[in-house]
Amino acid sequence: MKKIIYLLVTLSLLLVACSAPAQSSTEFDINNWDSVLAAAKGQTVNWYIWGGSDSINAFVDNFYGKALKEKYGITLNRVPLADTVDAVNQVLSEKQAGKDPGAVDMIWINGENFFTLKQANLLYPDWAQKIPNAKLVNWDNPAINLDFGNPVDNLESPWSSAQFQFIYDSARMIAAKLPRSYADLKTWACANPGRFTYIAPGPGGFLGTRFVKGALYELSGGADQWQKFDQATWDNYSPQLWDYLNQLKPCLWRKGETYPKDEAELKNLFANNEVDFSMTNDITGAGTGITAGLLPQTARAFVFNQYMIGDFNYVAIPLNAPNKAAALVLANLLLDPEFQAAQILPENGFGLGYAIDVTRVTESSALSALQTASTKLGDSATPASDLAKSLVGDSAAEYQNLIEQGWAKNVLQGK
């Protein structure tokens, strides 16, 4: 009888001993990357990203998803959003309900959404410059360490870069006849009524908001004054903005009574010859759309001479994220030179630009991969020099809502 008891006790001790270590392995120290990797192993990272592009979704699943699994034992759960603000709301309502851990591990984020979470102190702090690949990022560049004019403060890590561009069909128009400013655009649109439209500024329509902002910049003669929020500037120039858009309205597709709600819808209208211009954020211009079969082969990207908004976009980790270690590993992976080189190639489907500074890459094969990739953007991309010349930063976060609501009231519902 005693023997049996000893046996049972030993067995149960063994069981406890074997299961105990598993509990403590989610602890990690961000200054010790190995502890992060160990903690992350076996975790799932719930990454909330805008899901409006099939090819971006496929890229994320195929490149990051596979690598995370094979190299780090992490499972990627990509959660598509109609608009990033949905993830922000999720985190906010989890805070209200006192839910910790929550559901969101990482958000593809920038601008006003970042601003909202930062203000509410809902972001995991002090990590972005501590991950190994952070050394490849030029954190001294104000375009990187400021997000819509707000200091990033180590709360988010860059992923890629994007710039607003237009797309036209070289089979229908020649480059010399393209409008190169908002003023030109109005002239062109009214000479070709019904052949232009833009995305409605609003949730999921960030390209539309960018388009409208560009008009605001041109009307007010500059982008710099919009970097910090100033009510007087807004009160001064917004009437002119609504006037411009309302004058443009009758010349638009469907006489401006309705607007495509997102990039996918506008692309569709463009490809089906309902309008002559589309819009994109991709550094690859029309390349990714052509590869995906969404645009005709003859589609090309172009920019106005000025006021084409471009910026970096980031990933952030909520304070109540359940799998922080895995999120850190993913954020680090995004900056890996091999993956940065892959993200810029049109055939891979992502099409946004680099976030790392190529000059900081020392490893030779990685360096050559990056340099080669940047030459392979193809004809359908806007030439890099044009992009650089017209680049301006996005405005202060407070303007986003003002523009979106103001547009709905003064233009969409206006007379």
Partner: protein, 288 residues
């Protein structure tokens, strides 16, 4: 012996009744509370009629669209219901005269397999200005650009939405009418025919009164459904004017949590209107 299987009807009804009462009751209570501004999540706990006041007077983001949306919703719902009722009656009468048997009712039933969402999508792919029909028209030389094709969907007058509901509700209403016709009409009809009534007279004086109760309650159900439905106007409608449910959800989901009260208020107004219509239908069908 008779009540072997159920001791009392109420015991048998209990599970279903309790479930529905609790769920509907709770949703109503919480709904009304939210519309009155009692949103515990942001710590708001004072009752306020602000949402309703804003809607009625047309102030604020939600209010500015409210009356326009109400008018638009009523237009679309009434038009769809009337058109589908009339057409369904004609279809049902014709079918019942065919004495064609099971095949056609099966065809009508198959229509049930297509959820509204899918039907809207099919319409979009087929009837949009650059959709399939437009492409065929272009290759036949009838039009040259998509702009030449009429705007049927995502238009300001809700034509696309009406088209959708008419095509989906005709089978539904026709089935209801057919059920009545097949069980009851032949006798009366023969008598009327023998007495020398013409086709249209028979339709008006015999068939119509016969199917009216079922048709009326079916139509009111259809009206209620269309008036309170979200998916179809969200897909086939435009940014402005929007049908009431689309407006309601937009404010319910607004990042500003106080807008939830507005969204909830709109949704309750929809509910009240629908309930009033339903009660009228009940009274009417009882009168007959």
């Amino acid at each position: 012996m008779r009540d072997r299987f159920i001791f009392s009807p109420w015991l048998a009804l209990a599970p279903a009744l309790i479930l529905i009462t609790i769920l509907l009751g709770a949703s109503l209570v919480y709904g009304v509370a939210q519309s009155l501004g009692l949103i515990s999540v942001i710590g708001a706990n004072t009752v306020s009629l602000d949402s309703y006041r804003n809607l009625v007077t047309g102030t604020g983001l939600a209010g500015s669209e409210f009356w326009g949306s109400l008018a638009f919703s009523l237009w679309v719902s009434i038009a769809s219901t009337l058109i589908s009722s009339v057409l369904a009656l004609l279809v049902a009468v014709w079918l019942s005269e065919q004495r064609s048997g099971n095949g056609d009712t099966l065809a009508l039933n198959w229509n049930l397999a297509f959820p509204h969402l899918v039907w809207s999508i099919a319409l979009l792919l087929f009837l949009s200005q650059s959709g399939l029909l437009a492409r065929w028209a272009a290759s036949l030389g009838l039009i040259s650009t998509p702009a030449d094709f009429p705007v049927l969907l995502r238009d300001r007058f809700g034509i696309g939405i009406i088209l959708h509901y008419v095509s989906k509700e005709i089978p539904f209403l026709a089935l209801i009418i057919l059920a009545v016709l097949r069980t009851q009409s032949t006798g009366y009809d023969l008598v009327a025919e023998n007495l020398g009534a013409s086709h249209w007279q028979r339709l008006r004086y015999v068939t119509l009164p016969l199917v009216m109760p079922a048709l009326l309650s079916g139509s009111l159900l259809v009206f209620a459904f269309i008036f309170s439905s979200y998916e179809v106007p969200a897909l086939l409608g435009v940014g402005y004017p929007r049908m009431l449910p689309v407006l309601a959800l937009r404010f319910f989901n607004d990042p500003d949590l106080r807008s939830r009260a507005d969204g909830m208020a709109i949704s309750l107004i929809i509910t009240v209107i629908v309930l009033v219509v339903a009660m009228i239908s009940l009274k009417k069908s009882e009168q007959k």
